[in-house]
């Protein structure tokens, strides 16, 4: 049975973070497993955690009364989920549902924020990593908005 910081060490999100820093933040984390269909979080719930997906797949969804759950994006092993812990009012805007058996490490947001306050260098490093993930997700979302595979020229007047 490996320790959390050993698990984190393997995860791409923390690549390059030294063992000491990993141990520090591991103190805010716990293992969590989700079975197929389990919700990691739901829209409207208080959001103060941050998930690191080790294995499996999670769908970020919005639920429509008629259409049912609409998947915005899926998040796979090696990726991370959730930044509402950074941004008030710390509330989930979407549902997150496991599409298959999913192993995660879940971080307590308040604990992480405290550690960042105490060690600003660590804080800055973590913020850069989060910013990179947000940047990539935003780029991807923007390109998907172009609906490139849609009917060509449909958007033109």
């Amino acid at each position: 049975m490996r320790t959390i910081d050993e698990l984190l060490h393997e995860h791409p999100f923390f690549a390059g973070l030294d063992a000491e820093a990993l141990q520090l933040i591991a103190g805010c984390a716990a293992n969590r497993h989700a079975r197929t269909g389990d919700y990691l979080y739901r829209e409207g719930e208080p959001a103060d955690v941050f998930y690191v997906i080790r294995r499996g797949r999670v769908a970020i969804e919005a639920d429509d009364p008629v259409a049912g759950p609409m998947v915005i994006e899926t998040v796979d092993d090696g990726e991370v989920l959730g930044w509402s812990w950074l941004i008030p009012p710390h509330q989930w805007l979407f549902d997150a549902r496991a599409l298959e058996s999913t192993s995660t490490v879940v971080f307590d947001g308040k604990c992480l924020r405290t550690k960042c306050d105490e060690d600003p260098n660590l804080g800055y490093d973590l913020m850069q990593r989060v910013a990179q993930v947000m940047y990539a997700r935003l780029q991807a979302a923007r390109i998907r908005l172009l609906d490139l595979y849609g009917v060509p020229g449909a958007a033109r007047p």
Binding site: M70, T74, D76, L148, Y149, V151
Partner: protein, 286 residues
């Protein structure tokens, strides 16, 4: 200045073969998606059409017109296969053709993928939407000699799960030691696969950037972003190949329509490497 050339004769096969039409009969028709159809065509004269993966024909219907359509079949055997998206007058006439209808074919034309340049390398195939259609012959050619390539990945992005082309065949590629990863822009209730953008699959794919041949096909914006992702990982620009598309009337470099500055997409392409394309793609309305 050269003297006036000789009169055309049987020894002028170049000019004649480019404009001579061959007739093919539709022998099979599959509705792939709401607006896309795959036709299998057999030559009336019995001569199979030999082609290189990545080439196209000028496919037409008598009295309606012709358009450039990539060849999607197996280059090493079988019928002429074309996957056609119904987006205009001519493609509508083609897409609504039935078994036994006769279509006109000129070609094949253009520079293909030359997937053999990936011998001994990893190969990454990235397809967006109908972009899988011109790439399918390259994958089939590669599968015919699977052991001459190292790691092979096919990354395929489509709009929705039901918009994917050749879904069961693509799934079977996994049995041939090909890492197939699919992603859609919009899921569906039954879809348990990835939802997202195909470019995000690139960093996750297994290949050694310094020893990789990348083949990319899809909408031009998508190809630019996929290329950026590949370049970011260190794939050299001359090892990234894109299939370009421009307006074509003749398919043989004579009508002038398909020019991309000094390149004729029908003759110098449609497959072109990014080292050649980079300065051209940066100029708006080129």
């Amino acid at each position: 200045m050269p003297p006036a050339p000789e009169a055309p004769s049987a020894e002028w096969p170049r000019g004649h073969s480019a404009f001579r039409v061959r007739e093919f009969r539709v022998v099979d028709r599959q509705q792939d998606t709401a607006d896309t159809v795959t036709l299998a065509l057999a030559p009336l004269d019995g001569q199979p059409l030999a082609f290189a993966p990545g080439q196209f024909t000028m496919l037409g219907r008598v009295g309606v017109g012709e358009v450039p359509i990539s060849i999607s079949g197996n280059p090493d055997r079988g019928l002429l296969v074309h996957t056609i998206r119904d987006v205009g007058g001519v493609t509508h006439a083609l897409a609504t053709s039935d078994v036994a209808d006769v279509l006109d074919v000129r070609g094949p034309f253009g520079q293909g993928w030359c997937v053999e340049d990936g011998y001994g390398s990893d190969v990454v195939v990235v397809a967006g939407g109908i972009g899988l259609a011109p790439l399918r012959p390259a994958v089939l050619r590669l599968l015919a000699e699977r052991d001459r390539y190292r790691k092979v990945s096919v990354l395929y992005g489509a709009r929705t799960p039901s918009d994917r082309l050749y879904p069961s065949e693509v799934a079977r590629w996994r049995d041939r030691d090909v890492d197939v990863v699919e992603v859609v822009d919009q899921g569906s209730p039954e879809w348990l696969g990835r939802v997202g953008l195909v470019t995000t699959l690139v960093p996750r794919a297994h290949f050694e950037p310094g020893r990789t041949l990348a083949l990319v096909c899809g909408p031009e914006v998508m190809m630019r972003f996929v290329t950026l992702a590949l370049l970011d990982l260190g794939v050299p620009p001359d090892r990234i190949r894109l299939s370009m598309e421009r307006s074509m009337k003749c398919g043989v470099g004579l009508c002038g329509h398909c020019q991309l500055r000094e390149l004729f997409v029908c003759v110098d392409g449609p497959v072109l490497d990014y080292a050649t394309l980079a300065p051209l793609l940066a100029i708006r309305e080129l």
